[in-house]
Amino acid sequence: MRDASLARRLVRHRGALVGLLILGALVLMAIAAPWLSPRDPIKTAPRTALRPPGATYWLGSDQLGRDVASRVLHGARISLTVGLIAVSIAVAIGTPVGLVSGFYGGRLDAFIMRVIDVLLAFPGILLALAIVSVLTPGLTNVMIAVGLSAVPTYARLVRGSVLSARENLYVEAARALGSRDPSILVRYILPNVVAPLVVTATLGLGTAILAAAALSFLGLGSQPPLPEWGRMLSEGRDYLREAWWISTFPGLGIMLTVLAMNLLGDGLRDVLDPRLKP
């Protein structure tokens, strides 16, 4: 019942609806990429290099004659997967750390918070850069780096929610009735954490996709000939004068994906937990 009304409220939220529609289209593109693509995204055809967008090449062809439309379609797959895996890593590590830290408090909490303070001292993409440099460049390591660098954010968020949830009377009641810590954590504390976590993870998916594309743009992520949006942008950079389409369409793809996640995240926040509104 609650889920049904949640979905209805989300669809009634104008921003969230637009976000959902864009995201739906992107997911469809990603799933159906092999069937929708007019050509092989990797096969080169030097003779038809740098063709402008038109009837044969909808979005033009790149410096090696590859079809930009097919590459952008396949790129949606890579970007969405990379973002999803990175956020999953962050949530999977950050949630238990925050739960334990907030629930038990004391020295453990103090220690975990100091570690998180240190990790947060590396601003923005710098922590991900440092992790990639340790793990060596590559798309898998970019996912890990982007995921790990977001762990402090989630751990802090969960800890904050736990700190307020733990004071509830029903937690005390559960303890009085003899519930053990793990059961209290999962049954009574965790549900309080879900709403802010869903909102942050949705917004975080956009950030993760952006960060991963940025690392690939810098040459630290996906390697050629993979049709990854960030990499395509950096390859198109050298042909900006004669072939603007090589970098323009992948960039549009990244922006639309991040925009969709931001719209959806803002909408979810308004619907799930209006108190989180900045």
Binding site: R114, V115, D117, V118, L119, A121, F122, P123, G124, I125, L126, L129, A130, V132, S133, V134, L135, T136, P137, G206, L210, A213, A214, F217, L218, G219, L220, G230, L233, S234, G236, R237, L240, R241, W244, S247, T248, G251, L252, I254, M255, V258, L259, N262, L263, K277, P278
Partner: protein, 309 residues
Amino acid sequence: MLTWILRRVLAVVPVLFGVTLAVFSMLFLVPGDPVKMMLAEFVTNPDQVAQMRAQLHLDEPILQQYGRFVANAARGDLGTSIRSRRPVITEIGENVASTAQLAVAAMLVAVGVGVPLGLLAALSRNSWLDVASMGTALLGVSMPSFWLGLLLIFVFSLHLTWFPATGGGDLRHLILPSITLGTIAAAIIARLTRSSMLEVLGQDYVRTARAKGLGGFSVVVRHALKNALIPIITIFGLQFGNLLAGAVIVETVFSRPGLGRLIVGGILSKDFPLVQGTVLFVATVYVLINLLVDVAYAYADPRIRLGRA
């Protein structure tokens, strides 16, 4: 106030120690032998490997290595770059001005565009102006800086030829990169200014000011904006850090010298001391800037300044 500042300064010390520990550990977290990884392209001669190990003091006990690392860093010695064989601090010194210039210019763009945009949206709440400014801000937040940079180069350098596309140096080289870097921060500041302003405009003292018959401008600027700016100061430090990190990308887009390109170049050429030194430098600067912002914040907020909070 003074005790508050002192406590805040002392709180930074363990964080900075943690940062040195994290950066120091980077070398030990490398899967496999870091020395072989760094040397891989050149040599596998055991003598050279041993020499490199000694040069990096990797043959000493780990605690001694860390002690040396911190002591050296405190004296400004961040080691020697493997590729250029020059002190890392020299390389940083040559590049820091360019990045600082870019970050400060981007901050000016961010505040100069973000605050008025948010103000405009808040004052015309729910009108088309509000929707348009917040729509612009949302686009700005979602815009990959590396794409925006390329679009700006395409329009303003290649077509209109108003600004150079790449390189560093004079003011003309600074305009496109600072717009590129400042856009996301401008969008974040605009959204924050709007919500902060809306909250303040609903306060009793604003109503009182209006009731006293003060003009709209005076109420907005002297009573509302002054208070609305307090949360914006806090985000200033955070955003400055994001600008420092974002410079990594923007410097690459515009082939502009700076700390960002130093780090990326270091990672690509497996020059570990260079990466470690530069990352440590940027993180330390970020921590210290946030400290300054906190102090400024305490000064701006009379509740802290007068020691009532």
